[in-house]
Amino acid sequence: MPYIPHTEADREEMLATIGVGSIEDLFADIPQELRIKGPLDVPPSLDEHRLLGRLFELSRRNKNSVSDLACFLGAGIYDRYIPASVGALISRGEFLTAYTPYQPELSQGYLQTIYEFQTMIADLYGMDVANASMYDGSTAAAEAALLACASTGRSKVAVGKSVHPHYRQVLHTYCWSMDLEVVELPATDGFTKEYSQLDQEIACVLVQSPNFFGGIEDLAAARAAADGVGALLVVIADPTSCALLKPPGEYGADIVVGEGQPLGIAMGFGGPALGLFACRQEHVRRLPGRIVGRTEDHDGNSGYVMTLRTREQDIRREKATSNICTNQALMALSATIYMSALGKNGMVQVAESTVRNTQYAISRLTDSGASLRFPGKVFGEFTLRLPKDPVEVQQRLLDQGILAGLPLGQHYPELADCLLVAVTETRTRAQIDDYAAKLATALS
């Protein structure tokens, strides 16, 4: 076995040094009745050639967006272009096989990239500081709500129904476990704009913009509503949109979170993802997860360390600001390389292309017999109402190589006639025209 290098001679020498006769003797503390007897009921070992064949066969049972399907499905994960430099750099062993930078002298490479990541995310969101990343967008949103409750001493959070349904489910799970109450605000015409349920017990208002339906929310109104009851404003924002739109920080958000997958991370069936978390300076000591700071060594050389460590679970244990230990350093590195490769102009160009393609898709698809369900401004995603069952239409287009979008009935029964369509910069005019033509046929 190539992963276990011991020869028989090594084993005998090592056992002699330890002073036991066999490896078995080292397990003497495990009572016999707790030992596994007989062979494991798992598949036999495969050599590397057969192993590759087996996994390749499994991979071919998935339809993928490179060779099989034109992807118009989004809802939180987006088919964006990833520059080749990202994969090449994150697969370098020095990054890929490192651990948490507990020994900063040996981890300056990672620590600097995280400092660069924190800078870019804070800038993109228009916020003071960002942490070194979280698991994914949904858990980042839930952690933001917990931070708001801890900070305000209140025990209710309000969330718009135009927030991603899975994010709301995760929020409900986390809040249930901490005895916190969740209030859902209605999504009138696909937007959160009805705030009459807010009261003085609300710790924070969570809105998503662009929201689950692609709609650009009125963040100034959300800010005013939160201020009305002394609550924090938490905005969940797609980082790509922030390259173009006025960022949530400029609307006065207290915390901005999001899913970093669009920043150079493969769709990968939804994971690993990248949770983004940025806030105003006043909350920095309550931030969950890691944060990297710049400092000096005893000779005055500039260097980086994990800082504000006393918030963390390995130091402060049950008094920590969160239980989070692992972050998403490799994914944060992907995002850092992606944002560096595209830079200021490339990021804006991706966002602009997304808007152009989206507007073109709206005009073509609504010419094909569908109608736009919600009026208002959108970024990258929109809701179509279909005269036929969206699940059937989706299946019909799937057979013709088009991943048409997400039928909404499962999440919003009142929108059972609707399909959520996403259009990124990687879709072409020809693909959109093809979709429109096939949709017209499916609806006729």
Partner: protein, 500 residues
């Protein structure tokens, strides 16, 4: 004082020049639109760097060269299980049929992924002795939190939710255990460790009453010892109506030898990035699969996967969304699916023949290191250890003013990543060494030789240790300054005002 000749690398922002770009971005071929009227108010400025592709590659390649990974050298970080990440894992996880799959595409177009996840779950179920596994938690601490939520839901379903508000943890527990318990709304109480390193059963018995929701146990413990009374411990907690959680951070020592489910545990988390060779990536992504006994299964986060009846890889996978007692979701989609691909690749490479060798050789390596070092760094408990040994340097602190941290920093000058320091908290000046099964005898010998030499230096020339490391781009960094003058982001310099 040594002088360092390599300059501190500049930040990518300092390399930025207006007009450069590092990627040929896809351009829309659809009609132009007026942006302001289409999406509303636009942002004024964006301070992302502008850099050409070659300089981009050099920047991050140079940073990689001042970073230490397993592929750079030995990384004996105890409790973190830094074993080799096989290259084939990266190749399989990089297949387009895995990377370019959307989590919400119809299940019949993602049958391969569902089969990967279901097969990993099935193998982990066999290795751990648990009835059901879910891959939805995305990190070890996330798995712990999810297990506590399941326990909470279980007690609530029996009408004991309000009454059971306490979670017990051993004094040697990982910090995530008490933090996860607190994050699930529980009060945390500690159970002592006995003189010989085993759990103190009297201390446990004194804490057990109707308020206890769960006991979180790491087995083998963070002292590197298998808890011989584990079955009794589980019985005691069950008799008091509590549940027992197994922290799976140290599962590497048990693979193929003994199963937590058979030991009496009700649930556990597994770190796929520890035992199952998915890379740690500088601190994540992790993957925190959890296993549960059947009484906790109804509460698992939805959706749950299972194979239709039968054996073999062609079986259909059933997606079960209809789970009325579920605690709800704990992450956005299916968990860290690409990590499941890596873990499956590894599990199938090892197979039934080699899986038990993981634990056997990990334990052999740890005991070999302990035996070679016991004269200079005595073990905290004079017993055979499991996959990691916990040694104490308190002698050098007392006699020479040298701390465990100084020994660790000196190891860097010898070319090794240091072991874990000051954990578990109950051992003074401790060094926790976990070699893993993937290291060969020559590496272990070189490492032990270095530590023996350093212990000699500690007695003869302690300043060598106090000043270490001297071979890296930076020396010991001022962590107090980092907190006091908090600098967690770069900001552009203002243009200097022109002087007349």
């Amino acid at each position: 004082m040594p002088t360092r000749t390599v300059p501190t690398p500049t930040l990518i922002f300092e390399k930025s020049r207006p007009g450069r770009i590092g990627c040929n971005v896809p351009k829309a071929d659809t009609p132009e639109v007026d942006l302001r009227s289409t999406v509303g108010e636009l942002r004024r400025e964006l301070n992302l760097p502008e850099i050409g592709e070659l300089d981009l590659i050099r920047h991050f390649t140079n940073l990689s060269q001042i970073n230490y990974g397993i592929e750079t050298g030995f990384y004996p970080l105890g409790s973190c299980t830094m074993k080799y990440n096989p290259k084939i894992n990266e190749r399989t996880a990089g297949l387009a049929g895995f990377t370019h799959v959307h989590p919400l595409q119809p299940a019949d177009t993602a049958k391969g992924f569902l089969a990967v996840i279901a097969e990993v779950e099935e193998i982990l179920s066999e290795l751990t002795g648990f009835h059901a596994i879910t891959m939805q938690p995305v990190a070890g601490a996330h798995g712990e939190l999810t297990c506590l939520m399941l326990i909470k839901a279980y007690h609530e379903s029996r009408g004991e939710g309000k009454q059971r508000r306490v979670v017990l943890v051993p004094d040697s527990a990982h910090g995530t255990n008490p933090a996860s318990a607190a994050r699930c709304g529980y009060e945390v109480r500690h159970v002592d460790t006995a003189e010989n390193g085993d759990m103190d059963l009297d201390s446990l018995a004194a804490q057990l009453d109707g308020t206890v929701a769960a006991f979180m146990v790491t087995n083998p413990s963070t002292l590197g010892l298998f808890e011989p009374n584990i079955a009794k411990v589980c019985e005691m907690v069950h008799a008091a109506g509590g549940q027992v959680f197994c922290d799976g951070a140290n599962f590497n020592a048990m693979v193929g030898i003994t199963r937590p489910g058979d030991q009496g545990f009700d649930c556990m988390h597994l770190n796929l990035h520890k035992t199952f060779t998915t890379p740690h990536g500088g601190g994540g992504p992790g993957c925190g699969a959890i296993g549960v006994k059947s009484h906790l299964e109804p509460f698992l986060p939805a959706p749950v996967l299972r194979f239709a009846e039968g054996k073999g890889s062609a079986r259909e996978v059933v997606v079960d969304e209809d789970r009325p007692l579920s605690i709800g979701r704990v992450s956005t989609f299916w968990g860290n699916s690409l990590m499941a691909v890596r873990a499956l690749t590894y599990l199938l490479a090892m197979g039934r023949e080699y899986l038990p060798d993981i634990a056997r050789y990990a334990v052999l390596n740890a005991n070999y290191v302990q035996a070679r070092l016991k004269e200079v760094l005595p073990p905290a408990n004079d017993r055979h250890c499991m996959h990691e040994c916990v040694l104490t340097a308190s002698r050098y602190k007392k006699e020479n003013g040298v701390r465990a941290l100084d020994i660790s920093k000196r190891l860097i000058d010898y070319g090794f990543h240091p072991p874990t320091n000051y954990f578990p908290l109950i051992v003074p000046e401790c060094l926790m060494i976990e070699p893993t099964e993937t290291e060969c005898k020559e590496t272990l010998d070189a490492f032990c030789d270095a530590l023996i030499a350093i212990c000699g230096e500690a007695q003869d020339n302690p300043d060598l240790l106090h000043d270490a490391p001297t071979t890296q781009i930076v020396g010991r960094l001022d962590e107090t300054k980092a907190v006091k003058d908090l600098d967690v982001r770069w900001r552009p310099q203002r243009e200097p005002v022109a002087r007349v």
